[in-house]
Symmetry: C2
Subunit: 162 residues, 2 copies
């Protein structure tokens, strides 16, 4: 074997069953899977979030996009830069409020979004392989309740990945 002196891993049950630890490990695997999947298409998790928000709610300022995606203002700048460089999005000054930029989804961006959705769905499938459809939905609901509960107030609405 590669490491220790005994047989299997022998991770203590107190560690194995610790919810926060399980969340961390599952999240690590999840982020790796989606990063790899989207990376093959030269995309990033945040790209998908921004494109989805734009398709869902139409053109928006960067501040509004930050709200809808959870991407931090200071990180969103680079994301829009990259999307604009790929012509998936257009950044134009807002004539009605010259502090703002209006970000608009291009037709190319919409087609791109379709592709990213496929890649992302595949990654979710791979992530949730060991779970049945009912279990997947249950997991999603349980996680959703936790996230929603802690989202109110805390400094973190997290620009977490996909």
């Amino acid at each position: 074997m590669t490491t220790g002196e005994n047989g299997g891993a022998a991770v203590p049950a107190r560690l194995r069953e610790l919810p926060s630890r399980l969340l961390g490990q599952a999240s690590t695997h999840a982020q790796r899977l989606v990063t790899e999947a989207l990376g093959r298409a030269d995309a990033h998790k945040w790209h998908y979030a921004a494109l989805v928000a734009l398709e869902e709610s139409g053109p928006a300022s960067q501040a509004a996009l930050s709200d809808r995606t959870g991407i931090h203002r200071s990180d969103l700048v680079a994301v829009i830069n990259e999307l604009a460089a790929r012509e998936l999005v257009e950044r134009a000054p807002d004539p009605g409020d010259r502090r703002r930029n209006v970000i608009t989804l291009t037709p190319l961006g919409r087609r791109r979004l379709r592709r990213l959705e496929q890649l992302l769905d595949a990654a979710q499938g791979e992530l949730l392989t060991p779970l049945s459809a009912a279990e997947r939905e249950q997991l999603t609901r349980l996680l959703g309740r936790i996230v929603e509960h802690h989202a109110h107030g805390g400094p973190a609405m997290g620009s977490d990945g996909q």
Copy 2:
């Protein structure tokens, strides 16, 4: 309100229900809670993992500890340093194999572990507040299956937190 121009957050459902994203956000909250809780006692998530492994399986080499805790070899060095500085653990060369160090839990370390367990339990409780006992157990089982499934083979066994 603090940001955008419309009412609530209005996060698209496609983002809100994405399992990998939910995992990431839940994990972020979880890590923050346990880091804060343990931080109040001048401790770190990894400290707990190492102490638990030592109590569970007795004295061990750093390599064995790395296996049992999931903490990377290169990070474990600093963890043992800190635990040894607090006299919660003793690091001694292994007479039978001079490449190895034998890490031993001290009585003080064992008492410390009791305290950290309390803090950690409280943090888990806070994290899982919106869930019933049955739901907590279900979440743990579902996450455990995912983690176990992806743990076999991948480069990541993750030195994830608690």
